[in-house]
Each structure stands twice: as C-alpha cells, then as structure tokens.
C-alpha cells in the first residue's frame, strides 16, 4: 500500500476583472476497493460567494462554486491524500463473451451499474475501424487476457504526442493519425470494449511520475491522467492503463469515472466579463509519502 499526496493547482488569469465566475470541479477523489480517501482540501481564491458539493450521476463528488465580485484571477488548488494498493493479479477470469452476454441481459441494480458504460458517446463513438483492436477477442478467451492484449496493442500502435490533440479531437482522427494523449487512449480502449459489448469506464485521476535515476524529481511536472476500466463479471472492475501498458495500474490515484472525458472533466468554468488576454496554468504534483 502506498500513501500519495496530490496537489492539483489550476490558475486562470483573465486579463480584465470578471464580474461573475462559475466553476464545476471533479477534483475530490472517490473511494474504491483499492483506494481509501484520507483527506480532501479544496482551496479557492478568491473566496467564492456560493459553494455547493454534490455527487454526479456516476457517484463522483462534484464541487460547484461561484464568485460574484470582480476578480482578475481564479486559483483552484486541490490537495488530497489517499492510500492506494495495487490489486493482485487475477489468476482466472471468465470468458469475455460470457461477460458481454451477462451485461447485455442485466436487469435491476446490475443494469443500472453497467448501462452507462455500455453506451457509445460522442467522444467514444462506434467506429468500424475499432474492430482491428479486438481481432484477438475470439469466443471463450478470458476477459483479462483479451483486455491485457488490447492494452498492449494501444500502447504499441499509438504514439504519445502531447501537442497533437486536445479535448475536442474526434476519436476517428486519433484512430487515423495513431497519436494522442492519455485521454485519447482511454477513449480508444473504452470505445473498442463497448463495441464488443463489454462495459468500460473512462477513469480520471493521476499517476506518479518517476524521475530519471540520479536526478531530483521536479515540482509540478505531473499532469492529470486518464485510463480505462473493464467490467469482468464476478471479478468486478479491472483497471488498465493503455498509455503505460499497465494492467493493473501501479502508481495511480483515482479521482472518478464516467463514460468519457466530458463526464469527469477536472475543471469546467464560465466567466462573465470583458474579453481579455486569458491564460491558464495547471500544475500537478504527485508525491508518495512513504
């Protein structure tokens, strides 16, 4: 088990004073079978005039706040501490096609739990080209095996390129150009799994980056991260990280999950005021405490 502290700092500079600002954040982590949440602190500057905490329809904590006095900057700093254990490797898993059949026929609470993650969304559309990622899904093969292969396939046939895409790049383009960032790869994996009937979550969180041996870890170089989780029948949800080819993920902190990025975007805001030169600085630090 590892204790992590994550500091996620988002700072907007608007250039001119804004009269009103509204922000919704997905920054507070939720507990999972392998993660317990020790503390969650959200620091907002300026002090918001309204604040509300709720849960979204996927059970993720959401904070909503608004500033109604003139402000030229907005700082949102989330500091969290969690204990994370790496789940043990699975010795056995059910055939993926059985899992898909169970998911398709689910009723009651199970239908409610799985339904959202079977759905194709605009960020995870049903595309013919996705079939090339699931050619190894032959009947009867264990779900953990085929998903692990999918994870490896995305890792090896896509190039990580931080400048190539943004949150609005369509999946078809990512599939065509074969490059992207963690959000794109999580979308690719989720869309591929849903296209064969397997429930797949888009998971939002952080990953601890390990400094080059012999060099000190730099402050603020980390970033928010995203990966994927597949439902494996009686085994429950199995996380895997196609960006780093890890199943299960090793140094990951979970914040929340949804169908795609849009469901769990870390910070979403709207400001009302004159147009100015706006800038945004995001810094994330993930530190293992022991």
């Amino acid at each position: 088990m590892t204790r992590f502290r994550v500091v996620h700092r988002t700072e907007y500079r608007y250039g001119r004073p804004m009269a009103d600002g509204f922000t919704a954040t997905h920054l507070a982590p939720r507990p999972t079978p392998h993660q317990s949440v020790l503390s969650t602190v959200l620091h907002i500057d300026p002090q918001p005039d309204e604040f509300d905490a709720a849960h979204d329809s996927y059970g993720n904590p959401v904070a909503l706040f608004a500033v109604h006095h003139p402000h030229e900057t907005l700082l949102v700093e989330s500091t969290i501490e969690v204990d994370v254990s790496v789940p043990p490797p699975v010795p056995w898993s059910p055939p993926w096609d059985d899992v898909a059949a169970v998911a398709a026929g689910a009723t009651g609470d199970l239908a409610e739990e799985l339904g959202p993650y079977l759905a194709h969304t605009s960020a995870t559309p049903r595309l013919e080209v996705l079939a090339e990622l699931t050619v190894g899904f032959t009947p009867g093969r264990p779900v953990a095996d085929v998903v692990s292969e999918l994870c490896y396939l995305v890792f090896t046939t896509f190039r990580f390129d931080a400048g190539a895409t943004d949150v609005t790049t369509p999946l078809a383009e990512v599939m065509q150009e074969r490059h992207g960032v963690c959000q794109d790869f999580a979308h690719v994996a989720a869309a591929a799994l849903r296209s064969v009937g397997l429930p797949a979550r888009y998971v939002s969180g952080y990953i601890e980056t390990v400094p080059t041996p012999g060099e000190p870890k730099l402050i603020g170089v980390d970033a928010s991260h995203a990966w994927c989780s597949v439902w494996a029948g009686e085994l429950g949800w199995l996380d895997f990280d196609p960006t780093n080819d890890q199943m299960p993920p090793q140094r990951h902190v979970t914040v929340g999950w949804g169908r795609d990025y849009d469901d769990v975007a870390p910070v979403r805001g709207v400001v009302i005021g004159p147009s100015g030169e706006q800038s945004l600085v995001v810094a994330v630090d993930v530190t293992a405490l022991d």
């Binding site: 922000t23 954040t25 509300d52 009723t107 805001g269 400001v271 009302i272």
Partner: protein, 764 residues
C-alpha cells in the same frame, strides 16, 4: 365536384378529410359549405393573397426575414444568420368536429402524462431500466440524456407540451412524435388564426369555431403554477436565443401575447441561487423561465453543452436547488429522442397503469389527405396536426385548434418541407365550451419601470440610427433636388456651392470637411458625395432595423409595421443605387416612425433611452451642418443656395422664410438652427430635451454634461458670429460637441456597459 369551377379528386382508397368514400362532403364540410358559400377558385386566390400579405406584414413586422444584415454596431459580423422562411397559410382551414377533437385531446393529454412519467423515471428511480424494459445502455447513449448532478426533482417536467399527429389512410389517428424541449408552434398558431380571422371572419363566426387566443392565458397561469414556493408576486420571463434563431418571430410574438419580458442569455445572471434580470437600476429577481432555448444550449457549466459559453451559466444548478423553475425542466429534450418514443407506451402502462388511446405512427404507413389550395386548384395532401397542451397545476389544457402542416410528396411527417400551414378549426356543437381553470390570480405588479440594460442599449442606438438615417437621406434629397432644378449650380461662384454641398453631405455622414480633390470637377465631386451619402442612409437603415429586431416587443404593433416596411426598403436598396424616389419613400416612413415613437410609445425609461439617442444624434447633426456648410466662407451667389440647403436639410427652411423674409442673413440662420428653443430641429431644443431626460434619470453626471453643452451653446454663438460674419464657428462647434460626445460615452458607461460575454474556461 366541390363547385362548378373547382374539382377535387383525392387519391381513391384513402381517407380524405373533406370527402367520404362516395365523394360526398363530410358533415363538417357541409356546414362549412353553408357558412363559406361554394368554393370559387378566384375567391380562394383572393383569400390566399390576403393571407400572404397579412402574414408577411406580421413576419416583417417582427423584422426577422430581412435580417441577413452584415455587421452590428460593435463590428461583429452576423454571419450565418438563419433566415426564417415565411410560410404560406392555406386559405382552406383544417376542419375537425369537436367530438373527434375530444378524442385527440384525450390522446394528447394521456401522451403528455406518459412522457412526463417517462422523464421522471429516467431521471429518477429508473424502474423501467431495473425491470429490463428500457436498456440502460440505450438511455446512456442518448446525448439528450442530461447528466444532472445530485437529485433533480423539478416542480413539473413538462409545463408546455406539443404533439404531432397524423391520420392514416383508414382514418385512424396516430402520434408522430412528442415535442418537449421548447415546443414550437403555439405562437405561430395564434398568428395564423389572427390572419384567417381577417381573411374569412364569416367562416369563423358561421361555423362556431373554437377560439384559441385564451390559451395564452392558460400558458401564463401554467408558468405561474410552477413558481418556487414562497415567492410573492412571482415573475416569469421568456428566454430566447436571440434574433438569429429561426423561430425568433414566434418568441417575440409569444412574449408580447403573454405579457412577459423577452430576455436573452446576457440579460440575466445567476446569483445566490436566484436568477436576476439586469435592468437599468440593478438586478430584479426572476422566478420562472419559459425557455425557448434547448437543453443543449442552456447552461455552459453543464457537461454536453453546445455553443461555447452561450446560455445562462449556473441556471441548472439553481434549478436543481429550487431557486428557479425552468419550464420545461432541464433534461426534457430526452423525450424527443426517436429511440425513446416506443417506451412512452411502456411508461404509460407500467407507471400510470393506463393504455394510450393513440398509437405510434408506423414508418411508411399511408396517410389521409386534406384539400390544399395549390396553383389555383385543389389537391389532396397529407397534413400533420400539432396540438399544444399546457399543464396548469394538475389540469391539462389542450388548445382547441393548432397548426396543420402540409406534407410535400415524399415528406416524412416529422420533417415537412412544404412550408404550407393550415389553421385548425374545431367546429360543431361543443366547440365553444370553454375550458375553465380556477386559479388564484397572482397579485398585480407593474413591471413598466424595469427595462433590461440590453433593451435600453438597443433602443438608444435605434434612436440614434433613426435620426442619422433621416439626416443622411434628407441631405441627399435636398442636394439632389437643388441639382435637378439648376444643373449649373456646381459652376457658380468658383464652385462655392459645390464646396458647400459637399460639406453638408459629409457632415450628414459625420465625416470631416475635405476640399474637393484637384482634377475632379465640382459637379463630379457633388455626385460622388451624393452617392456615398445615399449609401450611408441605407447603412443606417440596416442598423436601425437590426437594433429594432431585438427590442420588437417594446414597440407598438404599428411601429413594427413601419419598421417592416423600412426593412423591405433596405432589402430593395441592397442591390441597386438609391434614387430620389427611394429617398422620398423612406423619408416618409422615417417620419411615420418618429411620429409613432413620440405618440405611440409609453413614456417610461424605455422611451427615454430611445429619445435620448434621437436627441443626441440630432444635436450632433445640427452642429455638423453648421460647422461643415456654414463654417465655410461661402460668399456671393452661393450663399443663398447653401443656406437654403442647410435649412432644408434640417426642416427649417419654411420656418425661416415665414419668419425672416430676408434673402440671406447668417445671424438669422444660426439663430433658427442653434438658439431657437421653439424650433424642434434646433440645437437649443435638443439640449432642452436632453436636460429633461438626464433629470428624469436622476443622473447628476449626465446633467452636468448637458449643462456644459448648453452653457457653451449660449455663450459661444455670440462670439462665433459678429455682424453677420462668421468669426469662429469651429471653436464654437468644438466647445459644444465636446460635452455632447462625453455625454454619449457616459451614457454607455453608466447605463449599458455591463460584462455580458460568458467565456468557457477549461482546465485539465
């Protein structure tokens, strides 16, 4: 055979609304034939033309058809404006017997209740999902299924609902689809009826057609009924995407009929869990939003929002917390997803334990026909009926009528392309029975004083554009006439008249005086300046129409008609050059407009800003003319025509001649144009009105600026003109214009300048 001259032969073997299988008139149509007389193609054509004309007048009165205008006053390009095509109203109404209509009424209400139950279930317990009826993956794959944080229990999911119905070839009615997001068609139905009521009043009377106008009252009550609890004198507004929206005519019309403010996203702001209207004196609370903005464009803070920062940020959060009611509730668009339509029936049987009496239309099933007037004859065409339902508390009120949209060959009933609409007449005994919903009337409140900042802003610029349009048109008109009467004028006195004419025309366009370029003949210079002045007049006209379109409901109906005419004049001008007759035409319309602004506009803050703009612009125009044309040392033979032109351009020539008789006297001219506070075109008169307005606004800064301009005006003229000779008009003009321009800037700063552009900020 319908009459001697008109034959009608619908497709055999299909139900027809007018004729039975034997080709005889159905009973409702027998009654109609008695009330309307035999159908005569010429008579129908007349009615058709009258309906077209009325509808067009109403449509252009709402100023949207002509709104393909280039840029607004902020220089923003209004690209890709959706031009709303005017529809054609068929002179033959869709007749339905009250007893049959009762069947549809019941079906529509059942359907609305089932859709409401389906929405409540999908956003609530999701029993249909748990029971395995509705696949969760289907629900979650629908983009219109909104992810709402926390629990969301609106006072009602649907307050206003509409449903499209068709009759099949055997005569049975079916549902095509449900309209739940921001159902359109109600305003259009009222509009269509008001037109047909004038085209065939004898038909409405003779057949005892059910009235539909009071449905607006039901809708207003329906909105009041969903007010958050504990509100005294609740207030509803109509939220529109703005004049660029294809159905803006309807929004504008509905707001007027409902007596509610028509607001755009930038007019309101969420604070402290409440929604507030930005008015001149601050913020006023709003309780219910009748939204004509769809779910997907409502709140930029919500996931799945379209359109960047547009909308009302935080309004869904406010609705969830109960501070504001959205009608319909956020998320209602879900029920419009075609994939969900089959589950409405399940929702009714499982959640309400009731079978729906109207089945869903099956794709491809043949439809009944109705007689439609096409190319001077009758043709049998399928018609889709749209019914409107309002939920007033626990009561469901169906409007006894509606719109019947005619389908073109091959049209899907959900997507008619024909642009032909029938007014739906519910006839027969029972049609006149009024629905009565007993509801305590909310306390009467006077909202006359509350003017949204955007509206004051637009009215002010409307006033300025109207005045500038008039000044430019009049200057062009006067110089053109002088030239027509004496083509030799440019050659007299070494081109002195030409110099004065060019200066006057440039002043009218707010351009600085410039000498005629070397090598250009005086005559050509005048013609070139005339051309650019006429174009400037057309541009001002465009600005005027554009400003007016967004504040249509603050202007009287007649004002709307005049503006509609001006809009059409502008559209006609857009292609060719502007002639004297055109200028005459729109000077008359502009005069009508200014008369209406004075005589048919209630004296409140809205009018005050309209008139402020007008007076300020006129004061600047007089100063410009004095500076431009009279400031030149025009002497000799040219003095007279130049002075005439300036006086005439400011509608003061007749007064001058009556009063002074003298041929030309600069002192007298300046006295009439600047100092005479009895001349409604003089500077002094404008300053008096400005003083009244700033005092009415209780605005000290404005008062001191007007006072500064007035003091300069009185003191400066005596120094400017000595013994009939102009000494320093320039200095005088500058000293008055300075405070006036400061006043213009101060008005924008104090009364309008509000941060209004929501910007979406993402983090990662």
């Amino acid at each position: 055979m319908i009459s001697e001259q008109l034959s009608y032969s619908p497709v055999a073997g299909r139900w027809d609304e007018m004729l039975d299988v034997d080709g005889a008139l159905r009973p409702t149509w027998q009654a109609a034939a008695r009330a309307l007389g035999p159908f005569d193609p010429r008579d129908l054509l007349d009615r058709q033309r009258q309906a077209d004309r009325l509808l067009d007048a109403e449509g252009t009165g709402h100023l949207v058809h002509e709104l393909s205008l280039a840029t607004d006053r902020h220089g923003n390009s209004a690209a890709a404006r959706s031009v709303s095509r005017p529809w054609r109203l068929d002179p033959i109404p869709f007749l339905i017997d009250a007893v049959d209509f009762q069947h549809l009424t019941q079906g529509a209400v059942e359907r609305m209740q089932a859709v409401d139950a389906l929405l409540a279930d999908c956003y609530g317990p999701r029993t249909l999902v748990a029971e395995g009826v509705l696949p969760a993956s289907l629900l979650h794959s629908l983009p219109s299924f909104r992810q709402v944080a926390g629990s969301h229990r609106p006072p009602a999911w649907l307050v206003h609902y509409a449903v499209d119905l068709v009759r099949d070839a055997r005569g049975a009615w079916h549902v095509v689809h449900d309209l739940t997001d921001a159902p359109s068609g109600f305003g259009y139905s009222l509009l269509n009826r008001s037109v047909l009521a004038r085209v065939m009043p004898e038909g409405l009377r003779g057949l005892g057609v059910a009235a539909i106008h009071d449905h607006a009252d039901f809708l207003r009550q329906a909105l009041a009924a969903v007010t958050p609890s504990g509100r005294i004198s609740p207030r509803s507004v109509v939220l529109t995407p703005g004049p660029a929206d294809a159905t803006y005519v309807e929004h504008s019309y509905l707001a007027t009929r409902l007596g509610l403010h028509l607001v755009e996203g930038a007019d309101v702001v969420m604070r402290a869990g409440r929604l507030w209207l930005r008015v001149l004196d601050g913020l006023e609370p709003i309780d219910v939003v009748y939204r004509r903005v769809g779910d997907a464009h409502l709140d930029p803070l919500e996931p799945g929002h379209h359109g960047g920062g547009s909308g009302v940020p935080g309004v869904v959060w406010g609705a969830r917390a109960g501070g504001i009611t959205l009608a319909n509730a956020y998320g209602s668009a879900l029920a419009e997803a075609p994939e969900l339509a089959p589950f409405v029936h399940e929702a009714s049987t499982r959640l309400l334990q009731r079978e729906l009496s109207l089945p869903l239309w099956t794709e491809g099933a043949q439809l009944a026909s109705s007689p439609v007037f096409v190319d001077g004859g009758l043709e049998g065409r399928p018609v889709v009926l749209r019914l409107q339902v309002a939920r007033v508390g626990d009561e469901f009120v169906v409007m006894p009528g509606g719109a019947g949209r005619v389908l073109a060959e091959g049209d899907h009933p959900a997507r008619p392309t024909a642009q032909v609409v029938k007014d739906v007449w519910v006839t027969g005994s029972g049609a006149r029975v009024r629905h009565h919903v007993p509801l305590g009337a909310p306390p009467q409140v006077d909202f006359g004083g509350s003017v949204p900042k955007r509206v004051a802003d637009a009215l002010y610029w409307l006033g300025r554009a109207a005045e500038r349009a008039e000044v430019t048109a009049r200057a062009a008109r006067v110089i053109t006439t002088q030239l027509e009467q004496d083509p030799m004028l440019p050659t007299i006195a070494d081109g002195a008249w030409a110099a004065g004419a060019v200066a006057l025309l440039r002043a009218a366009q707010s351009l600085p005086t410039a000498p005629i370029a070397f090598g250009v003949s005086a005559g050509d210079a005048v013609l070139a300046e005339l051309n650019s002045t006429s174009n400037a007049a057309a541009a001002q006209l465009a600005a005027l129409v554009q400003e007016a379109a967004s504040v249509r409901e603050y202007l009287s109906t007649t004002t709307g008609r005049v503006l509609g005419r001006l809009a059409r004049v502008h559209a006609d001008l857009a292609d060719g050059s502007v002639g004297v007759d055109d200028l005459d035409g729109f000077l008359v319309d502009l005069a009508a407009l200014s008369g209406l602004m004075m005589e048919s506009t209630v004296r409140g803050p809205a009018w005050r800003f309209l008139d402020l703009g007008r007076r300020l612009e006129r004061a600047l125009a007089v100063l410009g003319a004095v500076e431009g044309a009279l400031g030149l040392a025009v002497t000799g033979f040219a003095q007279q025509p130049v002075a005439d032109a300036v006086l005439k351009a400011h509608e003061s020539l007749v007064a001058y001649r009556r009063r002074y008789r003298s041929e030309f006297d600069l002192d007298a001219v300046l006295d009439l144009l600047l100092r005479d506070d009895g001349n409604p075109r003089s500077l002094a008169y404008q300053l008096d009105r400005l003083r009244e307005h700033v005092s009415g606004l209780a605005w000290p800064e404005g008062a001191s600026l007007v006072l500064a301009a007035s003091t300069q005006a009185l003191a400066g003229i005596d120094d400017a003109v000595v013994n009939g000779r102009v000494v320093s008009v320039d200095a005088f003009v500058l000293s008055v214009r300075g405070p006036l321009l400061d006043l213009a800037a101060a008005i924008s700063q104090r009364w309008f300048a509000d941060p209004v552009n929501p910007t979406l900020m993402r983090g990662f």
